[in-house]
């Protein structure tokens, strides 16, 4: 299945470098993001089948009633073979769900695959619900934005979680009002977030249930070719400062060792400041060996424009998502000029 999906998402690629998970693939037949977008909600919370790839991506930094730190990830990916839809088995809209749960000494991951059309997986907007099997992200908001209050659940053979989330701030838009450039060649995606969630809920571990509280961050992104072909992977940070401000920062690594960076500074009231390529510097400090790979699990992150210079450490260096496309995704803490918690995702380390 792993090879199957690798092949699925690597469709219509050429023989040379194609980036992580086929995200550098050509976009023939699919729509491509254009600058100056205008979003319309709740429609844009829903799927965009004429774009090749899309995701609903939630990460949560949590603390249990046992005093320990936990992290939770819930993602629904949509990958289209063709820019069309149907309501039977022939639908070319494929869905992939990923669930992760990190404790200081354990990491659990699970994956679900399914096709849209018959109704095993999909996203609807009125009311908002993104689901695959019994995994779901469901809006419980009766007023305001659909993302203001949601419930979230996933379950696998060895773990489960069930969370309620409420937003304390507005949606925020990355890059140029949601048009997020990913390479010097102009590859881009539509990208917005809800970074202001507070969370309560229950984690179920093999040892039993744990009640948790914390914060969460929801990312929405869609595109048809978000990476250029020579980009190998990315390092992505979502940080919550003790002050209430937030920072999103990512670096897209080139095959030749260079990097394309981007960041968004988010004030507690939701005011954003985008930073283009080069404004933020990401420096690996220490590596760990996870799943026979060497990954930089401790980082130095500098954003001089905000007098920010911090060092991050993971809750659990072994937060490896053992899925069709394996990657590292786990909760972090940071110290330096600022303090707080966040999430780190690292892809393309082979």
């Amino acid at each position: 299945m792993l090879r199957l999906l690798a092949a699925l998402l690597a469709l219509s690629t050429t023989a040379h470098a194609q980036g992580f998970a086929g995200l550098g693939a050509g976009a023939d037949g699919f729509a491509t993001p254009v600058p100056n977008p205008s979003f319309s909600f709740p429609a844009d919370h829903g799927p965009h089948p004429d774009y090749r790839i899309e995701w609903w991506y939630l990460t949560a930094t949590l603390t249990g009633d046992d005093g320990r730190d936990y992290g939770v990830q819930w993602t629904l990916f949509r990958s289209a073979l063709l820019p069309t839809t149907s309501d039977d088995w022939t639908s070319p809209q494929l869905f992939m769900g990923h669930a992760g749960l990190t404790t200081p000494d354990q990491h659990f991951s699970a994956e679900r695959l399914g096709r849209g059309g018959v109704g095993q997986a999909g996203v609807s907007t009125m009311p908002f619900r993104a689901f695959i099997d019994d995994w779901h992200m469901t809006s419980t908001a009766t007023t305001g934005d659909a993302f203001d209050t949601i419930t979230l659940a996933a379950r696998s053979t060895d773990f489960a979680y069930d969370l309620s989330l409420g937003a304390t701030g507005p949606l925020i838009f990355h890059g140029q009002a949601g048009f997020s450039v990913k390479s010097a060649n102009g590859q881009a995606s539509y990208y917005y977030s809800q970074p202001f969630y507070t969370v309560t809920g229950t984690l179920t571990l093999p040892s039993g249930p744990i009640t948790v509280t914390g914060n969460a961050w929801l990312d929405r992104e869609w595109s048809s070719q978000p990476l250029s072909e020579d980009q190998e992977g990315w390092d992505w940070f979502s940080l919550q400062f003790d002050s209430g401000a937030r920072l999103m920062a990512f670096g897209l690594r080139d095959a030749d060792g260079g990097s394309f960076t981007s960041a968004t500074w988010i004030e507690p009231d939701g005011t954003t400041t985008p930073y283009g390529d080069g404004a933020v510097t990401l420096t690996p400090l220490a590596t760990s060996t996870v799943a026979d790979r060497t990954l930089p699990t401790e980082w130095r992150l500098q954003l001089p424009a905000r007098d920010l210079d911090i060092e991050t450490t993971p809750l659990n260096p072994a937060a490896w998502m053992d899925t069709s496309f394996p990657y590292w995704e786990g909760p972090i803490r940071f110290t330096g000029t600022h303090h707080g918690r966040g999430y780190l995702e690292m892809t393309g380390y082979d």
Binding site: R3, S12, P92, L113, Q120, D133, R155, T204
Partner: protein, 796 residues
């Protein structure tokens, strides 16, 4: 020295190319039949394993509807929405005229890893697989068949069952015009916190199918083939034994000379061993080639039989495997070694200066008629003891071996005895009789081979014939009604039955429930009180008037499997529905599970929620096809929901005749091998016996008369052998049916006898004997008088 010895010894074969050819041919035929049968069995078993492993059915449980109809798409989605890891499969058949293709539509996105969906990797155009028009994955054999038109592009892949294609569920849904899964595959490990799947769904959870059912069903068929192969091999070894023994004897002079010239015994034995090895490798190679041809020729028939009889899909194509060839060669070498052991031993013990005595050898080799007869008696006693007291398959086979070896050993004594009963009326007749008696030891090995071949023939064809007759009888019993109808639901069934009632002779609802009896799965059927059952359902044992007792509701019929397994007899209580008295035991061939039959009213009291969706219709047979058509058109029932029993029976008979083609072909081949053994022996004896015949010629008996006597004698011996083979063959059939079958499969086949077949076989035996004697007879009739006169000059 070794080379010289080898050269001197092998010069024998140059002088007697006929003998050499016989040795090679005998060995090659023995190898061919044995290895051919092995190849067929191995191929069929591999096909069962492949079939069992298709989509991981040997490891994955599945969910299906009790009535076998498709699972509603909503049911599947509801299970997924609750978190259960189940994966849909849409199967069905695309048909157009005579061409058909079975489709297995899978969902690779949800299929558990154990399903091992074939070769879905980077080589496959996955967008093409998932989207219109789709791709059909088929085996190379299937791709070469004529297939229905208008199919999506084919792609050759490994491990696809024959006559089937694996494709995406979307493609199968489009080609078969339905969205509902046929069944759901169940992942072995389900998410935490979920109720057991059996509680969450009213679908039937079927445990992984290890493929043992089909293997068990077909075992008796393969046992037949194996028995044939083994017997042919044994018969072939008789030829080899005779040919090698004779050659050793004829080469005594050469060996003596070699030894006298100073060649060590060890070198002579080494040379002989080397020579035999070379010959058996040569003959083995020929035999393997022949065996492959035999197997390849029979394979389509075998595949047809297995498919029709047991629903086992087996490719009609034989794969050549080196392991098979090597094992066949090893068997040939081992067989040669066994056949040559006696001759080698004698050579090793031969006094250095003993003269060559071919005639004496011929007599001595069959010698000890009395000792053989005693050994035969002991073997019969042992066999009888095993039959009466023995337990298990091994005892049954031991009994079988005792019978065959005993019969072969008893043959010379019985034949001599039979000849003694004849009272000759003239001196010439007396001479013929005496001469025949004298020849028996020389011919005994060949005659034993003939006996074994004939016995095997009678035994196996009696077994197959009994099986055929019983199976067809069983079909009659199971398919006593003209039409069988499956309705979409119990309500539909009730409506249909009501609508049809005025138009037909009778409507018999069929209800069944899966239960556990004695902690094993079993089926309970409820049947209506009707002459259809009273008349057609043959009971192996029964209480007086069992059907009336059954109808009263407190009685039950059980199948033979359940009766044998749990040692239940008529009069015992069956722990079902509070205890029911067993009033009859019925045969139920090929079913591994226990089964019980109760009255319809008792059934509905015991299983109130189960209502009939199937029913049988009694109607005048000639009106059945028209009614079947009306049921499909007016009531919109799908093709497979209406079964016409006449078609099913016709198809079954056709299948059985294919079975007979295979066993018939093997029968003729075995007999051919035995005929060849007789030919070898007669040819050798023909030369050795010239000194006996020459005086008769000299005192005035014409060559033609002598030749006629030779022919008559050969025919008489064959006829006597046949007479002896008849009881042996019937005993063999009895052992196969009453002992081996019961031990192996748990049910006993009633033995039926087929005297017309015996007559045909008798004719065949005489024909084989006539053909075998023809050569030496003609030679004798045409022999130059000078050659006969020379006898007096040259022989001692």
């Amino acid at each position: 020295m070794l080379y010289t010895a080898l050269q001197s010894l092998s010069s024998h074969w140059r002088r007697r190319p006929g003998q050499f050819a016989m040795l090679v041919l005998g060995l090659a035929l023995a190898t061919a039949l044995w290895s051919g049968v092995q190849a067929i069995n191995a191929e069929a078993r591999a096909a069962y394993d492949r079939a069992a492993a298709t989509l991981g059915q040997d490891q994955l449980a599945r969910l299906e509807r009790a009535d076998g109809r498709p699972v509603a798409l909503e049911t599947y989605l509801a299970l997924r929405a609750q978190g259960y890891l189940v994966s849909p499969v849409i199967t069905g058949e695309v048909r157009d005229g005579d061409t058909r293709l079975r489709l297995l539509g899978i969902d690779p996105l949800t299929a558990p890893p154990q399903a091992q969906t074939p070769a879905l990797d980077g080589d496959l155009d996955l967008a093409g697989f998932f989207t219109d028009p789709g791709i059909l994955l088929v085996s190379a054999e299937t791709a070469a068949l004529p297939l229905p038109p208008g199919l999506p592009p084919l792609r050759i892949a490994e491990n696809i069952p024959p006559n089937a294609a694996i494709t995406d569920i979307s493609t199968a849904a489009r080609l078969l015009l339905r969205q509902d899964p046929s069944y759901l595959l169940v992942a072995p490990e389900q998410p935490i916190g979920l109720a057991p799947l059996s509680d969450a769904s009213d679908l039937i959870l079927r445990a992984p199918d290890s493929g043992s059912d089909i293997a068990r069903l077909t075992d008796s068929f393969h046992l037949n083939l194996t028995a044939f192969g083994l017997l042919s091999f044994g018969v072939g070894l008789f030829i080899v034994h005779a040919a090698i023994g004779l050659a050793f004897e004829q080469r005594r002079a050469t060996i003596r000379t070699l030894r006298a010239l100073g060649t060590p015994l060890r070198t002579v034995l080494l040379a002989l061993g080397l020579e035999l090895t070379l010959i058996s490798v040569l003959a083995g190679a020929i035999g393997i080639a022949l065996g492959y041809l035999v197997a390849a020729g029979l394979m389509p028939g075998v595949a047809g039989t297995l498919r029709g009889l047991y629903g086992a899909d087996v490719e009609g194509v034989l794969r050549f495997s080196p392991e098979w060839a090597v094992s066949a060669l090893i068997i040939t070498l081992a067989g040669t070694a066994a056949a040559a052991a006696q001759a080698m031993l004698r050579t090793a013990r031969m006094p250095l200066l003993a003269p060559a005595m071919p005639r004496a050898w011929a007599q001595a080799s069959g010698g000890g008629i009395r000792a053989q007869a005693l050994a035969a008696l002991a073997l019969f006693a042992l066999g009888g003891g095993l039959a009466l007291l023995g337990q298990g398959l091994l005892a049954a086979f031991g009994c079988l071996a005792c019978l065959l070896v005993g019969a072969a050993l008893a043959l010379p004594a019985l034949m001599t005895g039979a000849l003694k009963l004849i009272r000759p009326k003239s001196a010439f007749a007396e001479w013929i009789l005496a001469d025949t008696r004298q020849q028996i030891p020389g011919l005994s090995l060949a005659l034993m081979a003939l006996l074994l071949a004939l016995s095997a023939n009678i035994g196996v064809s009696t077994m197959v014939g009994s099986f055929r007759a019983t199976f067809l009888g069983w079909l009659d019993q199971r398919l006593a009604s003209e039409l069988y109808v499956t309705a979409p639901s119990a309500d539909d069934a009730a409506r249909l039955m009501q609508a049809l009632a005025p138009q037909v002779d009778a409507i018999l609802p069929i209800v069944s429930a899966e239960v556990r009896l004695f902690d094993l799965p079993a089926d309970v059927f409820g049947i209506a009180d009707h002459p259809t059952y009273r008349d057609a359902w043959p009971l192996l044992s029964a209480a007086p008037d069992p059907w009336a007792q059954l109808e009263r509701g407190d009685a039950v019929l059980v199948n033979e499997q359940l009766s044998r397994r749990e040692n239940l007899r008529v009069g015992d209580m069956l722990p079902l529905a509070g205890g029911l008295i067993i009033v009859g035991v019925y045969s139920d061939y090929g079913n591994p599970n226990g089964q019980a039959i109760v009255s319809l009213s008792r059934f509905s009291e015991t299983f109130p929620t189960i209502r009939a969706t199937r029913f049988a219709i009694r109607i005048a047979p000639e009106e059945a096809p028209a009614l079947a058509t009306r049921l499909r058109t007016e009531f919109g029932l799908p093709e497979e929901a209406v079964t016409n029993q006449a078609q099913v029976k016709a198809f079954s008979i056709e299948v059985f005749d294919q079975t007979f083609l295979v066993t018939g072909a093997l029968n003729v081949l075995t007999l051919g091998v035995a005929g060849l053994a007789l030919l070898t022996s007669l040819l050798t004896l023909a030369n050795l016996r010239l000194p006996q015949l020459a005086p008769l010629w000299a005192i005035g008996t014409s060559r033609a008369t002598l030749a006629a006597v030779e022919m008559a004698r050969s025919l008489t011996l064959a006829a006597l052998t046949f007479l002896l083979a008849l009881p042996t063959g019937l005993a063999l059939a009895w052992i196969l049916l009453a002992l081996v079958n019961v031990e192996a499969f748990g049910w006993r086949l009633p033995m039926r006898i087929f005297p017309p077949d015996w007559l045909a076989l008798f004719g065949l035996a005489l024909l084989a004997a006539a053909l075998a004697a023809l050569g030496s007879t003609i030679r004798l009739a045409r022999m130059a008088p000078a050659r006969l006169t020379q006898v007096f000059a040259q022989e001692r």
